[in-house]
């Protein structure tokens, strides 16, 4: 396997695993919990690092990070439930404190070890091909592929197996609870998987950029569709496209791979925001403009139907108080539709235009 392929495949696994869970985070309005968890896994990793005696072992790191993630969720919920602090402020209190503890521990005890903060923050997916997994004396290929592939599979299974429960508890938590679906258990399961994914992706895209992979593709998909299955599929697609394009861009510019992937994801979000067929900003504006123009043209037709002779443009402008440019637009549309004749003496209906105007009482 070429190293380019390994890197891109790892990134696609990261983005797919994230998009699967992120879709539910976005819909449940817990996007910022993803931010909090991804910061707070740091002390968990450090603790696991310390417990396992400075070995950069994967299993303890995963466990430690999952524990830290759950601690974050529990603390935020506890703080919110005391009623003394609002939910967003609770998030903003918990994760910097935990992250500070992590940073402090790293700079105190692991300064010279293989756990430097740059890697924590923005990861180094470029090393993915070189950390290989060896078992029973066999070289099984890059470790990151195994970890992220496994996590992608676990997340996929989770979403497929509990799709009904996830969907119901996302859109109607009360009904889900009434039907005995245990939304709280589902909530903690989802959060545990987010923590696991965050730490699994920690080597490749870093603790902070994982937020980009968890939130941006699902948010982009959210702008493009109103249906949940389509949204999840689109989120996975956007993640994969960002992974590939981001990698290409990073190679061209010699910049951080994860950073460029997040940039591309952000750009895709921007495109969806502007051009989405469902309520994109420019799409909506164009539709409004077109409707305005068509309405004006029909108004014009109705007006002309009362006159036998061609009406000079000046008269129409006075009558409706339009700008000449606007009249020209409406005229152009009506001419293209074959409703208005190009008469040099002024505006005149074609036979079709007259018929159309006459239909209306």
């Amino acid at each position: 396997m070429s190293s380019d392929f390994v890197i891109v495949l790892t990134a696609i696994f990261v983005s797919t695993a994230s998009a699967l869970l992120g879709s539910f985070l976005v819909l449940r309005r817990m996007a910022l919990m993803a931010d909090a968890i991804s910061h707070a896994v740091l002390p968990g990793i450090v603790l696991a690092f310390w417990v396992s005696g400075g070995e950069r072992a994967t299993a303890p790191a995963l466990l430690g990070a999952a524990a830290a993630g759950l601690l974050t969720v529990t603390l935020v919920e506890w703080l919110t439930r005391t009623g003394r602090i609002k939910n967003d402020a609770a998030i903003g209190l918990v994760f910097p404190a935990l992250f500070s503890l992590g940073v402090l521990a790293v700079s105190l005890y692991f300064r010279n070890v293989h756990l430097d903060l740059d890697a924590v923050l923005y990861g180094e997916i470029a090393y993915a091909p070189f950390n290989t997994l060896e078992a029973f004396g066999l070289n099984l290929g890059p470790e990151s592929l195994w970890i992220m592939g496994g996590l992608t599979l676990v997340n996929l299974l989770f979403v497929l197996l509990f799709y009904k429960e996830l969907k119901l508890s996302t859109f109607d938590a009360g009904l889900a609870a009434a039907l005995g679906f245990l939304p709280a258990v589902l909530h903690y399961a989802l959060m545990s998987l987010v923590s696991l994914t965050a730490v699994g992706a920690f080597q490749s895209v870093g603790a902070i950029l994982i937020v980009a992979f968890l939130i941006i593709p699902p948010a982009t998909a959210y702008l493009l569709t109103q249906r949940l299955p389509v949204m999840i599929a689109l989120a996975v697609l956007v993640g994969a496209v960002s992974s590939v394009l981001g990698y290409v861009l990073a190679i061209l510019l010699d910049a951080s791979i994860a950073g460029m992937m997040a940039t591309v994801a952000g750009l895709l979000f921007g495109l969806a925001w502007l051009f989405s067929p469902v309520g994109g900003v420019l799409t909506a504006r164009n539709r409004r403009e077109r409707q305005r123009r068509e309405f004006a043209a029909r108004l014009l037709l109705a007006h002309l139907a009362h006159h036998d002779r061609p009406v000079p443009a000046r008269e129409v402008l006075e009558e409706f108080g339009w700008s000449p440019a606007f009249l020209a637009q409406a005229q152009q549309w009506a001419q293209r539709e074959g409703l208005l004749a190009g008469d040099p003496n002024g505006l005149r209906l074609t036979a079709r235009g007259a018929a159309l105007a006459g239909e209306r009482p």
Partner: protein
């Protein structure tokens, strides 16, 4: 004490402590408004969004002058907040997702730019990445001056527009009915928050900035219900965490200032949450425990009262009535005895004078409620009794 004296004698420590204190002051004041307006995480977004601004400012001008980099940071943060508002207004995307998209998208772009600059072999770039965690230890006098000027402007504006900001925070609808430019004032307040973030970047960095806007304000909120007191307290807590964090980090090598400042602020918040008068959770727990205990004893006394009046009060009879073990009933009677409500004479117990009075009072208290709620019963044709 040597350490605190170090603030006045040690040049580096003095600058670091001053920088952190300024951050605490400005962050505390503006954080109060931000948390009350439920915009606490805006600081986090602005800080992350500042990174590409810093990198672009460096790429375009090639200098590392703090003011220019901070201006770049401010512009990027400002752009991010405008973009965020535009997205919120034009889509149905939830607010937290919008924050997340802007935060991580800008930050990813910033990391991309940062590595691009680093790999392009520009030797001047060293230290640029320190904005991520802050570079408190390298803050020099000139930086402190820049921070002081920026912070001074922000605080001055808050002072001048205090009444307007207060109204905007608590009742924007009323403010707008008075003819105040609510949207403009909101944007101004957000822009001032950008200034607080710019000051924080050099001391605590991008990642930890959120805490410096939230923690002091959340702590101050526990001690008072008045905005003015809260702002002063929040500023004081901010300054305290800044100075303490700086001093503690000077005690040992390898103790980064930013995380220590944030942890100090978090501890102050935790302390306030638990122990502030009135709102403190510890008092709450104690009140709940005392109430539970009082209610349990009162029910016990009423049971004992009934038994004493209509049968006989022994541990066995009490146990039967309350469906507990006789040993437990005996303990309960002793609890009542400790209050002076019953006395024991062998197996037979009886209510004391005080116990009778208390039971009577409780019975009366229980009767008051239904009577007061039902006006017809108040006429009292003797039926209720």
């Amino acid at each position: 004490m040597d350490l605190l004296a170090g603030i006045f004698t040690d040049y580096t420590l003095r600058n670091v402590a001053l920088g952190a204190a300024l951050l605490g002051l400005v962050g505390g004041v503006l954080g109060s408004f931000a948390t009350l307006r439920r915009q606490s995480l805006l600081g986090d977004v602005l800080a992350h969004a500042a990174l590409p601004g810093i990198c672009l400012a460096f790429l375009l001008t090639g200098t590392k002058a703090p003011l220019i980099l901070l201006l770049g940071a401010g512009l990027a943060g400002w752009l991010a907040s405008l973009l965020m508002l535009a997205i919120l207004r034009s889509t149905r995307l939830p607010e937290d997702s919008t924050l997340g998209v802007i935060l991580s998208g800008f930050f990813g772009f910033g990391i991309g730019l940062l590595t691009f600059i680093q790999h392009s072999g520009d030797s001047d770039q060293a230290g640029l990445d320190k904005f991520i965690f802050g570079q408190a230890a390298t803050v020099v006098g000139e930086d402190v001056l820049t921070m002081a000027v920026l912070g001074g402007v922000a605080l001055l504006l808050v002072g001048l527009l205090y009444k307007e900001f207060k109204l905007l925070t608590f009742d924007p609808a009323f403010a707008s009915s008075l003819g105040l430019p609510v949207r403009g004032l909101g944007t101004l307040l957000t822009s001032l928050t950008v200034i607080a973030v710019m000051i924080g970047l050099q001391t605590v960095g991008v990642v930890l900035m959120a805490a410096m806007l939230i923690a002091p304000a959340a702590a101050a909120r526990q001690w008072t219900n008045r905005l003015s007191t809260m702002v002063w307290l929040s500023a004081a807590f901010g300054v305290l965490s800044g100075v303490l964090g700086a001093v503690i980090s000077a005690t040992r090598e390898n103790l980064p200032t930013g995380p220590l400042v944030v942890l100090t602020a978090s501890l102050i918040t935790l302390f306030s949450l638990l122990l502030a008068p009135e709102r403190g959770l510890v008092w709450d727990w104690r009140r709940t425990r005392n109430n539970r205990r009082r209610i349990r004893l009162e029910r016990l006394l009423l049971d004992a009262h009934v038994l004493y009046n209509h049968a006989e009060l022994t541990p066995e009879s009490l146990a039967q009535r309350r469906r507990t073990a006789p040993a437990r009933a005996k303990e309960e009677l002793e609890e009542l005895a400790a209050r002076g409500w019953v006395t024991g004479r062998g197996e037979r117990w009886e209510l004391t004078e005080q116990g009778h009075a208390e039971a009577h009072r409780l019975e009366q208290a229980m009767r008051v409620l239904p009577k007061a709620l039902n006006p017809r019963a108040e006429g009292g044709a003797g039926g209720a009794a």
